[in-house]
């Protein structure tokens, strides 16, 4: 007869002290391990110092600064135009968005008008960069989860977009395409046709990836309800962008504080419901589709005209004038050697970058170099919450979550 037996004796014994709850066990059962800073899944140089209880993370402490390259101090040592290549390397997977963010702040400070054609081209290149940023994020995240094929699908599509960006700006990754007052050069003649063709490829690539993962049992088990963060906590951490929208907060700067005619484009903002890793990955696929709609509308509305302002204090004169007459030469010389000197003042301006609100706080003292440039990096706020998010989950979940919050070390550490 198997009644009157003590069920406690059948349960596995966790430690030599018997069946105490985990909280009262001695620290000798914890293993201390470093996730990073040289780690395949750490997407750059981050460090998460974990105390593991078996496979579960008991406590996590994070450290950043391994890619602190002195962006802000370098900006103080160079002229406003020379800061533009430094901004490229902030969020290097979507470089033009940083260029536009910086130039927009300086243009507002100088009170110069950017021509309409330049605005539409900036919107098109911004959205293309948003698409490639989301493709890197999703591709790398899926590799960490184990779905390697999606990496090839995403990166092949990125190569096609890179071909277009290379023909446009001269460089694949670090474009430095914008100038203060407009753009450095106009689009090439076949730009609109090539962009439309690549949008179809992007849609096919995203469909392929979704076909592979959306009903995949392993993917769903690894991402649904993993590392959930509540709306209030996300707002308290200053999250913006797709990670905040995945928590259910409908907040997009393109809709709430529109700039560059975003109020005229018809697009939706995808919003998640739970705030888990699944939401954070899938929201990027839907955002890619919305960006495709925006690019199609912008291509249709793009007017003809100049691509840089004709304000002589700010924009370099066309080469025919620089080489043709002495006034053009002097103008060019003055802008390059003496720089663009805004009036003394301070400004904070922001754009909706791929990760959220990318802001620049610029202090000018009337000289040719900015006095102080502070970049407000969206992924700094994302990573600040990471330590708290992964406690109580397993190491594999931490890796999946790290990819979903899209940390780009260049922007995190500046």
């Amino acid at each position: 007869m198997i009644d009157n037996f003590d069920t406690k004796t059948l349960l596995p014994v966790r430690s030599s002290q018997g069946l105490d709850s985990l909280k009262h066990q001695e620290k000798k059962d914890l293993v201390l391990v470093n996730l990073g800073p040289s780690h395949p899944a750490s997407h750059g140089t981050l460090r998460a110092f974990l105390a593991l209880d078996g496979e579960t993370i008991a406590a996590a402490v994070t450290e950043i600064g391994y890619l602190h390259r002195g962006f802000e101090k370098d900006c103080e040592a160079h002229t406003f135009q020379q800061c533009i290549p430094y901004t490229d390397r902030l969020n290097y997977v979507s470089a033009i968005m940083n260029n536009v963010g910086f130039c927009k702040a300086v243009e507002r400070m100088l009170r110069v008008e950017v021509p309409e054609r330049a605005i539409y081209i900036r919107v098109i290149t911004n959205e293309l960069n948003r698409i490639i940023d989301h493709l890197v994020c999703a591709g790398a995240n899926l590799v960490d989860i184990g779905a390697l094929t999606n990496f090839w699908y995403s990166f092949n599509v990125r190569e096609k977009v890179y071909n277009i960006l290379e023909k446009l700006c001269g460089a694949r990754l670090t474009s430095s395409y914008t100038r203060i007052g407009g753009l450095s050069r106009d689009v090439y003649p076949e730009f609109a046709a090539e962009v439309k063709a690549v949008l179809k490829e992007i849609q096919l690539g995203v469909n392929d990836v979704q076909k592979l993962v959306s009903n995949n049992r392993i993917f769903l088990d690894r991402t649904k309800d993993i590392c959930v963060i509540s709306k209030e906590r996300a707002i308290s951490y200053g999250w913006t962008g797709p990670t905040l929208r995945a928590c259910g907060v409908e907040y997009d700067l393109r809709k709430s504080d529109p700039y560059y005619h975003y109020e005229d484009f018809k697009f939706d903002i995808p919003v998640g419901s739970v705030g888990d890793t699944y939401d954070r990955i899938f929201i990027r696929f839907y955002e890619i589709e919305e960006s495709i709609h925006i690019i199609e509308q912008a291509l249709g509305k793009m007017p003809k005209g100049p691509i840089i302002t004709d304000d002589k204090r700010v924009a370099l004169p066309p080469k025919q004038q620089t080489y043709g007459n002495i006034e053009g030469l002097m103008n060019h010389f003055k802008i390059i050697m003496h720089g663009i000197c805004p009036e003394p003042g301070e400004i904070y301006d922001f754009t909706e970058a791929a990760n959220g609100e990318l802001g620049f706080y610029i202090v000018a003292d009337g000289g040719k170099n900015p006095y102080r440039v502070k970049c407000r990096p969206p992924c700094f706020m994302n990573f600040a919450a990471f330590g708290e998010m992964i406690e109580g989950t397993m190491v594999a979940d931490a890796v999946a979550t790290l990819g979903s919050i899209n940390i780009i070390a260049g922007e995190l550490d500046r």
Partner: protein, 179 residues
């Protein structure tokens, strides 16, 4: 709410703390005293008409090389945003070189912890009551505050060994009940 109306409301509630305002390209920057920072920001966060629930950034500035600057050396700008009501606020605090201290707001916003650590690391502003005021971007053997104007840009400092982070880990384990 327009930033001018916000300024009037704050001036009414905290008459000694609010020192003035300046227009920064459409956004009014409100100057306040260092000691009043947690109270003012708590009011901005908790008041239902204002509802500034997000801290966007903390910017620290060293004004020592600014032409014709007569005031205190360091400025700290708090940028706030209300997601529900849509408005923004910009508050500036000036602190002197001899006593660069501001009370912390890390109990109000979760990201203030790291943002204040960055202001401490780069410029050297101390935040009273901060749970963990350590360097965040530069390495732990770094001496000085690089974004100050008297720090030469090419003064490099070698790191011999990375820090073990056990100090932070023991605190965190204690918080999670593992002691």
């Amino acid at each position: 709410m327009e930033s001018a109306i916000l300024f009037e409301k704050l001036k009414e509630k905290f008459p000694q703390a609010i020192k003035g305002s300046t227009d920064r390209f459409g956004q009014l920057e409100i100057q306040l005293e260092a000691k009043a920072v947690p109270n003012v920001i708590a009011f901005l966060r908790n008041d239902s008409e204002l509802g500034f629930n997000m801290l966007i950034d903390i910017v620290s500035i060293d004004y020592s090389a600014y032409p014709d600057w007569k005031e205190d050396r360091f400025g700290v700008v708090y940028l706030l945003k209300s997601l529900t009501l849509g408005h923004r606020a910009q508050l500036k605090v000036m602190v002197s070189e001899s006593n660069p201290e501001i009370p912390t707001i890390s109990h109000l916003y979760a990201n203030a912890n790291w943002l204040e650590r960055e202001a401490f690391d780069q410029i050297g502003i101390r935040f009273e009551g901060h749970p963990n005021l350590k360097r965040i971007l530069n390495h732990h053997e770094f001496v000085g505050h690089p974004l100050r104007k008297d720090y030469p840009i090419t003064r490099r400092q070698v790191l011999s060994a990375n820090e073990s982070l056990m100090d932070e880990m023991t605190v965190r384990l204690k918080e999670k009940g593992w002691e």
